[in-house]
Symmetry: C2
Subunit: 135 residues, 2 copies
DNA sequence: CGTCGCCTTAGACGATGTCCAGAATTGAAA
DNA sequence: TTTCAATTCTGGACATCGTCTAAGGCGACG
């Protein structure tokens, strides 16, 4: 990219993260994708533009981003944690055929009586749906 | 156990599963626990009563039970699929402190407008909550 | 220019889950 | 009961995911 699409440096600094070439490369992919990628998919994607980056760095960077509030982890799929750059509240739909994950806007589904649960303090919640896409 | 607590043979046969000593041992634990165990925890628990059972058998048996509708898998926790013997609908609460999973009765929480989602055919859904237990 | 501290790297490691080939067990039939 | 085929079980190899560590590199700052 001759002209950077995003002001990634600033975004990182705003979240208390010292930018580096590797961190910017990871951020430029993972903060703007809709793929809900696993850590190893992030590694593969980033290596397209940054072939010498190490796997450990990608894992470290992703965990740092989660810690600093740039990403969330989702535990929805089989056998791999998946990262989600959308930090605003939304629900998720999991395609049973190909395992793909889709965002469902928060307003589309309403949940009632969450507050009334005895014994639990709920910090956040979401509806997880499984099914297939309409043809 | 001199007198079996459960008619596990019948349960297995009802679901089209040929009973065997190993399968009954796995079923006697996993179908009646509230632990939401991972596969390796099932292996450890079953070995208390059946020390010579192999790890592969436990994995095969659990997958068979899922295929035949005796168990469900949950993808809620970090890095391990967890099994849930309750086949009736319910929601889940994940304790952020210790990762433990608790069942939330279906009626306690209501979800609206699931049917109105464009583009998706929802086969099932649940509310997943994260938080802490009240002291 | 030198030092210090943070960042990156490669590989080892442990945990999870699958697969395979051979052994053991089972059920059915004679 | 004996035989035989089919199913089940076993142990180990293998692949994947994620973490950790030790060493080296690099940048910020004096």
């Amino acid at each position: 990219m001759l002209v950077p699409k995003h002001k990634t440096d600033e975004t990182l600094r705003d979240h208390g993260i010292q930018p580096s070439a590797q961190r910017v490369a990871v951020a430029d992919y993972v903060l703007y994708t809709k793929e809900h990628p696993s850590a190893d998919l992030v590694w593969n994607r980033v290596r397209d533009n940054f072939p010498w980056i190490s796997r450990a760095t990608v894992y470290n960077t992703l965990n740092l981003f989660v810690e600093k509030g740039l990403l969330r982890t989702l535990d929805l799929a089989d056998n791999a944690v998946v990262f989600d750059p959308k930090m605003d509240k939304h629900h998720h739909f999991v395609d049973e055929e190909d395992g793909s994950i889709h965002d469902v806007p928060w307003e589309k589904v309403q949940v009632c009586n969450i507050e009334g649960l005895r014994g639990y303090v709920v910090h956040d919640y979401q509806v997880v749906m499984h099914g297939v896409k309409k043809k």
